[in-house]
Chain length 346, copies 2
């Protein structure tokens, strides 16, 4: 490291300063707070920056200023349209306000999530975007100890003392189940996503169960299946339900991918949707309206949700007061995959 003081100002802000004949402080000011330097200097500095091809060194900047204008996000997986869209939306918003995003994935593993959080904090992020409120017990302490603001996204829990933004999954699932109940169904099954480490999936199951209970309907254990996030698993679950002697006339699904699997399997098994079976999805992915039959589902404004999450943190960091719990409205989109049950089974 010890270098004989041969040639100073080799690169960086000092090279720019030397070239423009000013101090490093002025260059820094011209960059971070242009109004603080005279127009003439600003021009000279801008030209020097151009000439030298200067790129500010973010780590040095972060080290010195203790702010990174970077947010971290930890999602279970990027290979899921809902998260991919959400991240894209968040990233777009952040770059529009001069922030960057550091993205990591946890694979639905709470220990990994905690480790990633530590990682991101060490990276100097100004705030953290988390998926849901199902975290490692040490995570909140970690965030508090390091004074890192955060927000839970994709859920709505107004009773918690920390921020969140998202739709009320319980209410949405309740609405989805209510839809088929209103159509006259009494025998309703559910194919949910894995509830383990996924409070979103859990809330949906809860809302579904509440709707059934409120209408005095039973849910035999064999009518509730949990599956991972693949078409194959969803099809297998559908096969299970359709082969039951005592099969449901409607199936509410934990998300659209699962619903798609159920549609495919129903068709393959010779059942006609919605004549023999009604299917409801959840998320309203792009292609859900293109399916045949098109899918009745719950529309969730993903883009808005994630952008709001970014807004919350950016505003908080700017010292503004903002809404801590923001609910994003869902809506039921009725399409072709649901209809009244066959009269004979009513």
């Amino acid at each position: 490291m010890n270098r004989p003081s041969a040639k100073l100002t080799k690169q960086g802000i000092r090279a720019v300063a030397a070239r423009a004949g000013v101090s490093t402080a002025s260059v820094s000011r011209a960059l971070n707070n242009p109004d603080a330097v005279s127009p003439s200097l600003r021009a000279r500095i801008a030209q020097a920056i151009e000439a030298v091809g200067y790129i500010p060194h973010a780590p040095a900047r972060i080290l010195s200023s203790r702010r990174s204008r970077t947010l971290g996000a930890i999602v279970p997986t990027i290979d899921n349209t809902m998260f991919a869209r959400g991240i894209a939306s968040l990233q777009k918003y952040l770059s529009s306000v001069g922030y960057m995003l550091f993205l990591t994935t946890s694979g639905y593993d709470l220990d990994v999530e905690l480790q990633q959080a530590r990682n991101l904090i060490g990276r100097g992020v100004d705030g953290l975007v988390l998926r849901g409120d199902c975290h490692h017990e040490g995570l909140r302490k970690l965030l508090a100890d390091n004074a890192v603001p955060f927000i839970n996204v994709g859920i709505y829990q107004p009773d918690r003392p920390y921020p969140c933004v998202g739709t009320n999954n319980e209410a949405a699932a309740h609405r989805a189940a209510g839809h088929v109940i209103e159509l006259g169904h009494r025998r309703i099954g559910i194919v949910s996503a894995l509830q383990r480490n996924n409070d979103r999936a859990g809330a949906r199951v809860a809302g579904f169960r509440r709707a059934l209970a409120e209408n005095g309907l039973e849910l035999p254990p064999e009518w509730h299946v949990e599956v991972p996030y693949t078409l194959d698993d969803a099809r297998e679950a559908a096969r299970h339900l359709l082969n039951l002697k005592n099969r449901p006339t409607a199936v509410v699904c934990g998300n659209d991918v699962i619903a798609y699997g159920v549609l495919l399997e129903a068709e393959r098994s010779g059942f006609s949707v919605p004549r023999d079976l009604s299917v409801v999805g959840f998320d309203d992915l792009d292609w859900s309206r293109h399916l045949r039959p098109s899918l009745t589902t719950i529309h969730v404004p993903t883009d808005e949700t994630w952008q709001r999450a970014g807004e919350y943190l950016v505003r908080s960091l700017a010292g503004e007061q903002t809404i801590m719990h923001r609910e994003i409205d869902f809506s039921l989109v009725v399409r072709e995959s649901t209809a009244p049950p066959p009269a004979i089974l009513k």
Copy 2:
């Protein structure tokens, strides 16, 4: 946090050193090169780290060591299954070797890509993963000036003096077209992705055209449609082709999403696939085998491709000699969506 007894050692590595009664150098060594310190010291330091809740400050580390163990990646969009999977694979590999990934998106805009590259370089990334070889003319100079190694992923160009890893898109498209030609089709259309700023799409069109030319087949301009990456656009393109008085008997698509749109529209318009129309996709997404009819397509090993890209950079950075141009094999997967043309049109 700590007492107002404003002395030294407020936090960071100095606090750990003080607590363990050693120098900061030893703590740093214990962290970066454990073998260099005695086991007893190592244990004392580990305990102190735990007690203080120390998290190494990455920016300071990067600043000081001039290495970040972080790679940057710039993709057009994250909201595309192929990229999402690739990024996930890359990220998984990198974390397995102690690296992190800084991900940004360019939205198919070369200027934005250049800006993102500048951004990432300023961030201190050790290397850069880029999509394809269609970049801003200033990008390579930027990378060279800053001595940042990079690799183009998703294409195969052994004649270039810089590294790449991917499938030969031209050859793959040639194979796809060859398949329907072998089936007896003579009237073949193509629905490609937008070629602008997308050399992958361009190479596929080129391979398709070569196959036609080699077989003495014509490609009327109206049989070649370019569409953005949405189902709606693909359906519209299909509508266009199917409504032609002089319509093709087979359609080769730039990717599976487009093929899916074509299938949907064909069905909606009363054409039966593959009886009236053969359809070939490209990418072999998860659900392509589930479609009805299941989709004949080109299988591309995305996961392997992106992992190899990471391997190349990590190895290069470690000083190892590695293969500069790596070809990833594609394969034609024949399913239900292709068949010989109707006899009458042969």
